[in-house]
């Protein structure tokens, strides 16, 4: 069987995405299975991302597999000047699948060409993080019952946000309408808007979340970071405008859910946490089921 890797969400057809999401639902019902017994998975985190690594390791452990790897490259052979090529060639001998996170863009695609085992990209710099997108899709599907005809509101840093770009591209496979809420400096880049336009999908841009929050099915929050602004005064002006407060939810749709890739800093007020529209912690748990589904698919076990 040909080895498949998951480097970019575009590596999957829509049918494959649906199949993995169905499988994730199966794992949610029955998360502890012994299908990875005797298998070893490498988690190579060339830069730290505790949340993502723990999610992958939990997924593997629940399926009876073993994990080896490193959590940051500062105390491994990488700092001694080993090339990525050599690291992957070596690790490839020991494992059945490689999960890697690396700060350099394109590193995962390169690794997938070198390795003979499947490679899962757990983030390559500002480029791709497909398992995040898959868990976002799973969360949307699970809470809304469909991926069709939804209105998705993306809030915060839409200019540099890798997760929102990737989610936009993925959701554009269905009939989705988008609201983009961001300060002027961090608006959605033109290339993505053009992409939607060419597909005949609708979008609306605003700087005011209150203007659109009541019409949306999903509010996808991201963090507005100070260092993204060329002028610090601009940041001071807008920083509180992109914080979600409990009282903003009063008139929102009953089935609306709030997602966030986490970690959160202050962009969602903690008083939102107890509202049943808050979904970000369940979303993180969905990451385990989704990753179980992706790993078992790539290994040809399901």
């Amino acid at each position: 069987m040909k080895t498949r890797s998951l480097v970019s969400i575009d590596d999957l057809t829509t049918e494959e995405i649906i199949k993995i999401l169905d499988l994730a639902a199966e794992f949610e019902k029955n998360p502890v299975q012994d299908i990875l017994r005797g298998k070893v998975v490498a988690t190579l985190f060339f830069e730290p991302s505790t949340r993502t690594r723990l999610s992958f390791e939990s997924a593997v452990n629940k399926l009876g597999g073993k994990v080896i790897g490193f959590t940051d490259s500062s105390n491994s052979s990488v700092t001694k000047g080993e090339t990525l090529n050599d690291t992957i060639r070596t690790v490839n001998n020991y494992v059945d699948l490689i999960v890697m996170r690396h700060p350099i863009e394109g590193s995962a695609r390169y690794a997938s060409e070198i390795a003979t085992v499947p490679v899962i990209n757990a983030g390559d710099g500002a480029n791709q993080h497909p398992t995040q997108t898959m868990l976002d899709l799973y969360s949307i599907l699970k809470t809304q019952g469909t991926l069709d005809n939804l209105n998705i509101c993306m809030v915060g840093d839409l200019k540099y946000g890798r997760t929102v770009h990737s989610l936009l591209m993925a959701m554009s496979r269905w009939k989705t309408s988008f609201n983009f809420v961001a300060p002027e400096e961090l608006m959605m880049p033109d290339e993505y808007k053009l992409y939607l336009k060419n597909l005949g999908l609708e979008y609306y841009e605003t700087i005011d979340l209150n203007e659109v929050i009541n019409m949306t099915d999903i509010v996808y929050m991201t963090r507005v970071q100070r260092e993204r602004f060329s002028d610090p005064m601009e940041y001071e002006k807008v920083k509180n405008a992109y914080v979600l407060q409990e009282n903003m939810l009063a008139e929102t749709k009953p089935g609306m859910k709030i997602l966030h890739p986490l970690p959160r800093v202050n962009e969602i007020s903690t008083d939102v946490d107890s509202n049943n529209k808050a979904y970000y912690f369940e979303q993180a748990l969905n990451g385990v089921y989704t990753r179980q589904a992706i790993i078992s698919t790539l290994l040809g076990l399901k």
Partner: protein, 155 residues
């Protein structure tokens, strides 16, 4: 008595059989030589550069005796010499004229403009999908960023 045409004639003197590549921008002559690997073959090669051209400013011309190119090979120069014209010579006569076309994929020729791309850190053969031919826009197979005509650099 020699006139200006004779001079030109000298620079582009005839070959019995082979390929003449004309309308190369003078500035990219050596890139064309490198891309086609002309610095590594034993064929007789003559070239002229900084020649006046009605259409291209200063142009260059290369004549390679006994050498014929496949389309896939010659199209590799389209990035640096988009208006190049080929004359295929047999028995001192032009038997065929060809133009170059930007191919759908560009392998091992261009440099990715993204400084954070793996191809700029490790010895990786660059690969691009051509997303636009005029003006040229290349999508890196690795970092997925676009390198456009303005930022195009030949390795």
């Amino acid at each position: 008595m020699k006139n200006i045409n004779d001079k030109k004639q000298l620079l582009v003197s005839a070959i019995e059989s082979g390929t003449v590549i004309d309308h190369i921008p003078a500035a990219t002559l050596f890139k064309v030589i490198k891309i086609l690997g002309l610095d590594k073959i034993k064929n007789q090669i003559t070239f002229g550069t900084n020649l006046d051209s009605k259409t291209d400013g200063k142009k260059a011309i290369i004549k390679i005796a006994g050498k014929f190119f496949e389309d896939d090979d010659i199209n590799r120069i389209a990035l640096v010499a988009p208006n190049a014209k080929l004359n295929i010579i047999q028995d001192y006569k032009v038997t065929e004229k060809r133009v170059v076309e930007v191919p759908d994929t560009i392998i091992a020729i261009a440099k990715c403009m993204n400084p954070k791309c793996i191809t700029n850190f490790e010895k990786v053969t660059t690969r691009f999908r051509v997303v636009s031919k005029k003006p040229v826009a290349l999508k890196c197979q690795y970092c997925e960023k676009i390198t456009d005509q303005e930022r195009l650099e030949i390795i």
